[in-house]
């Protein structure tokens, strides 16, 4: 993906250059997750999953990050309680600097947001997690550093749930003229 973003930066430079132009970079993280890994189940033998599998998460280089205006991270997971008792499901998004090797060890990384959902047996629902990146947020500073890592963890407290990842997207808005001193 890093190389794909380098290609993006080349085209970005050619596409438009003006003080009123905002460049919106949309990265469809879900498409980088193999289809067979987008659905599955959590139970008492496996109570959590990480997306991506690697605890270091997914590195996202941001060309011209100094020009960052704002951004948004969106995640959506649909869930069905297939067990026999009530289930509590937590979804958290974590970010860290590009050299972080484990986004989940509380060492240099941050929890950006967490959402929870309780499902009764047979009940379905979805977890929608949206994070706005604004100046002053630690997550905003991580993005503005030029390269960051991002990952998500889905955790179960209960019997068994079926999950499907439906959306995982990072949207960054950049204004290249902000780079002009």
């Amino acid at each position: 993906m890093k190389r794909a973003l380098l290609l993006t930066s080349l085209l970005l430079a050619l596409a438009a250059c003006s003080g009123h132009t905002v460049h919106r970079l949309e990265v469809d993280l879900l498409s980088f997750v193999p289809p067979e890994n987008r659905t599955g189940s959590l139970d008492i033998t496996q109570t959590s999953i990480q997306v991506p599998d690697d605890p270091a998460g997914q590195e996202v280089p941001v060309p011209g990050a100094e020009a960052l205006v704002d951004g948004r991270i969106s995640l959506r997971v649909s869930l069905t309680n297939t067990g026999t008792s009530s289930a509590d499901v937590d979804l958290e998004v974590r970010m860290g600097p590009k050299d972080d090797t484990n986004l989940y060890d509380e060492n240099g990384d941050i929890q950006v947001k967490e959402e929870s959902l309780t499902l009764n047996p047979g009940e379905s629902g979805s977890l929608n997690l949206g994070v706005d990146l604004q100046p002053g947020d630690p997550a905003y500073d991580l993005v503005k550093a030029g390269s960051f890592r991002i990952g998500a963890r889905l955790s179960l407290s209960g019997d068994r749930v079926q999950y499907t990842l439906e959306q995982a997207e990072v949207v960054l808005r950049l204004k290249l003229f902000n780079l002009i001193p």
Binding site: L11, L14, A16, C17, G19, T21, S31, F177, I180
Partner: protein, 446 residues
């Protein structure tokens, strides 16, 4: 760096070669007469009854004042914040290449450019979901030098006797500029899938940019004269011209970028390949220091014929009927980071003619003037059709044309005997983003 910037600005200005305001009001049509002796040498002896033009004012330069921060780089020095919020490189380019028109709505970069990256590919759209595929071309092919150099800036002409003239001056101009994606890249960007780019190795998805610029001193010797009146036809004029140049600088460049893929079909990087050729006289080596000292020269022959039939006129000019240009300098090729520098001599084709046909007809009774022209051959084809209707001291004009894009013009003239004013509303196709750009042009004559 300053010299490079000077060359760039001179090159941009040369793209906006002046057309008279009367002509602009008639959709850009070229009326028969001495104003177009450059395109048809026979017009050097033609009466100036059809194509009379006033002094065109470069009112487009007004847009370089900080008052217009969207087109003025100077705004950075007077109001940096306004510059950061408003300056638009595309608007600036559009205005400086149409310096004789004050553009009412210069080409504007999109407010939002959306790059969507997924494992399957990449798409570039504006904020409305419309695909943005960079594609742009102006002038002739920038692949090789041409004997057909730009017209001299402030050239000086000397009358050497019956029908013979000598003209000389300095020239500087862009031969051509092109930015274009390959068919496969356009398809991939439009569809958002890179599958078509993986069909071959190296990838057929290529973004190409190319341009050429030349500068030097030119000297032309021409002859134009009326022949005897041909019964039933009119007065026939013929002209020939030989023009040579001594080159002061030539730069030509071409860059290609294409994606590369790993064995799983994922994008693994971008392969760059570019080459450029630079030539200037040996004695300028101390100033430029690029190791590209050499020499440039060229010679070409033009010919033309024109007929004045009283109420009508017709002309055919051929430039660069035979020609030759040679530049000795340095070619630098860079492929995947490896640079190769080779002393090279670049030569033009021996014959690369450019044809120019134009004519005008004044209808009996109404005095309505109908004019048309066409240019084709070694340049991108262009044609224009214009009308002028005189109403006492006022003349109303309109016309359409195709010149890299559709254009039309509306104009009027006011002849007050001591002073004549020509005003035109002009249009042209906005570069890169498409759409129509409107402008106002003004000329005066006393």
């Amino acid at each position: 760096m300053k010299k490079t910037l000077c060359f760039i600005v001179a090159g941009l200005l040369s793209l906006g070669l002046a057309q008279g305001v009367r002509s602009l009001g008639m959709g850009g049509v070229a009326l028969p007469g001495p104003a177009h002796a450059g395109a048809n040498p026979a017009y050097a002896a033609f009466p100036d009854t059809w194509g009379r033009e006033g002094l065109q004012l470069p009112i487009g330069l007004l847009r370089l004042l900080p008052l217009f921060p969207e087109t003025s780089p100077l705004a950075y020095f007077t109001d940096p914040q306004a510059f950061r919020n408003s300056f638009d490189l595309l608007s600036f380019y559009d205005q400086i290449t149409h310096v004789h028109s004050f553009l009412l709505n210069p080409a504007r970069s999109p407010d939002e450019v959306v790059f969507r990256v997924s494992a399957n590919g990449l798409s570039i759209t504006d904020g409305s979901g419309r695909n943005l595929i960079p594609s742009f071309q102006t002038g002739a092919s920038p692949e090789k030098p041409q004997a057909l150099i730009p017209a001299p800036i402030l050239g000086i002409a000397l009358d050497l006797g019956p029908g013979t003239y000598l003209s000389f001056g300095a020239f500087a101009g862009t031969q051509g500029v092109r930015l274009s994606p390959s068919r496969e890249l356009a398809q991939a960007l439009a569809g958002g899938s890179l599958d078509v780019c993986k069909s071959q190795n190296p990838s057929p998805c290529v973004l190409e940019g190319a341009g050429a610029f030349s500068a030097g001193l030119s000297l032309a010797l021409g002859f134009a004269a009326p022949l005897a009146e041909v019964p039933g036809l009119g007065k026939v004029y013929v002209g020939i011209r030989g023009e040579g140049f001594y080159g002061l600088g030539y730069a030509e460049g071409r860059a290609l970028a294409r994606p590369t893929f790993d064995q799983d079909g994922n994008v693994s990087g971008v392969s760059y390949e570019y080459r450029y050729f630079v030539s200037y006289p040996d004695y300028l080596e101390g100033s430029f220091g690029l190791g590209a000292g050499g020499m440039g020269y060229g010679l070409r022959g033009d010919a033309g014929v024109a007929v004045d039939g009283g109420r009508w006129a017709l002309g055919l000019g051929v430039r660069n009927l035979l020609g030759f240009a040679e530049w000795r300098g340095l070619e630098v090729q860079v492929q995947d980071g490896t640079e190769t520098r080779t002393p090279t001599t670049k030569r033009s084709d021996f014959s690369s003619p450019e044809f120019f046909v134009n004519g005008a007809y004044r209808m009996e009774g109404t005095d309505l003037l109908v004019a048309a022209d066409a240019r084709f051959g070694s340049v991108a084809p262009a044609f224009h059709l214009g009308l002028e209707y005189p109403l006492g001291p006022v003349a109303l004009r309109t016309g359409i044309g195709y010149e890299g894009g559709l254009r039309f013009g509306v104009g009027m003239g006011l002849n007050l005997e001591a002073l004549a004013l020509d005003l035109a509303l002009t249009t042209h196709e906005a570069p890169l983003v498409g759409g129509t750009v409107y402008g106002i042009a003004l000329a005066v004559s006393f």
